[in-house]
């Protein structure tokens, strides 16, 4: 199952590569940020798997990338999504707060060699807040009113981020408190999270192709003319 997960995230990264040579217009910067996330995920997951297989510690890398770097990249992504100056300002403050929390925690409370659950939960809550604000703006503030949601990459990306992080926060938050001797149960939970994760990363790469698909009806009518 883990090998399949690693294969799928590698595939997602490869599928995202051709987009560097296509005209993505307003989505170009977002694609670059998402591709960076994919690259980091592929590297850390493969490295983590390799180190774990050889009995070596790997939590430093998970802390550095999954707990701290990826949430910061998501904040940058949302900074590109929301055009309002006030919201961008809040995202910068959120990122700064999150990093400061992480630095203080690492220096004074928890070693970087242990998984930073609290930082992960804080980062996830910030990301979930951004996702919920996106959907609230979509419905109440007529954000992206001119866009076709089904062909709008941001919609798919934010939807999958919402579901992935909603599920994973329950898993990662509770892992300290549940009976960790039931490895089979934990492995099943992890498999569900990995499945959602793999779907999410695939959607990250495929969604940027959606705006490039021309409307068939437009093509036919322009041929008739």
């Amino acid at each position: 199952m883990l090998e399949l997960y690693l294969f799928l995230i590698g595939l997602a990264t490869l599928v995202s590569l051709p987009l560097f040579f296509l005209d993505l217009g307003e989505f170009k910067k977002m694609h670059r940020i998402i591709f960076l996330i994919l690259i980091l995920v592929v590297i850390v997951e493969n490295l983590g798997f390799y180190l774990a297989s050889n009995g070596k510690p790997n939590l430093i890398y998970y802390n550095a990338i999954f707990v701290y770097s990826i949430p910061i990249l998501y904040f940058l992504f949302f900074k590109e999504v929301f055009q309002q100056g006030k919201v961008k300002h809040i995202l910068i403050i959120m990122g700064g707060t999150f990093l400061s929390f992480g630095i203080i925690k690492s220096l004074f409370f928890t070693s970087f060699k242990e998984f930073h659950h609290d930082s992960y939960i804080l980062g996830t809550l910030f990301i979930l807040g951004c996702c919920l604000y996106f959907f609230y703006s979509l419905i109440s503030k007529n954000l992206f009113i001119e866009q076709n949601l089904l062909r709008f990459p941001v919609f798919w990306i934010v939807t999958f981020i919402l579901f992935f992080y909603s599920s994973s926060i329950l898993n990662f938050a509770s892992v300290r408190y549940v009976n960790t001797t039931n490895f089979e149960l934990m492995r099943m939970m992890q498999n569900i999270i990995n499945t959602l994760g793999a779907f999410m990363y695939l959607v990250f790469s495929i969604s940027f192709y959606l705006p490039l698909i021309k409307n068939k009806k437009t093509k036919i009518s322009s041929n008739l003319n």
């Binding site: 959907f135 979509l138 419905i139 007529n142 009113i145 001119e146 949601l149 089904l150 919609f155 939807t159 579901f163 599920s167 089979e184 149960l185 099943m188 939970m189 569900i192 499945t195 959602l196």
Partner: protein
Amino acid sequence: MDNSGTEVFYIVLLGFVLMLLMGSFIVTMVIVHRQKQLQNQQKLAAVRAEYEKTIINAEKEIRENTLTHVGQELHDNIGQLLSLAKMNLASSKPEKVSEGKSMLNQIIKEVRALSKSLNLDWVESITLEDFIQNELAKLESAAFCQTEFEKKGEEIPLEKDKKIILIRTIQECLNNAIKHAQPKSISFHLETKPEHLIICIKDDGVGFDTSQVSNGSGMYNLKNRMHAIEGEFHIQSALGKGTEIKLSLPISNP
């Protein structure tokens, strides 16, 4: 064994519920967003229709104004010239006949100018400065009041729709001054700033209480028309202290 079977069942059920939840969420968001889009498109169509109606009404009023002016000119100016020309041409004196012929030339010129003003092509070709000066010249020639015109900055060409609304607004402001203000003088100030066009129309007439202006009045309509072209209409007046109207329109420099 049973326990782990139950756990697997619950986990699979959880996964299924999660998928169902996600699918429902996506479908709901797309449907709600599509409804909002349709509502927004209807609103935009209504605003566009309102804007076009405003332009059409302004064009109609300019035409009516022009027809009134043409009627007056035909009666006052050309009618008189034709009578004089008839008298001169009927005379036996060669110099009178010659004068009558040159009057006919003048009448032909005046009629040609009047017929040109009947279609609205002159709106596209005329500058605001020329239009204002023409209107002020009409007031001066009728000895109605003294006029003053001041210009600052280089005039920038305007879109036809905006020009129509501005011209109509200026005409209406002048008509109101003539009808109600009894001014001794009317002054125009036309200023082109980097991002705004400002027109100030000031008279020293009787003034009025601006708080008494009702929602159905002409002033209210002028305000709405200026808003339709993203402009502003401000009026300051007090009884016995004259009236000042300020029109401002955002412009983009080429």
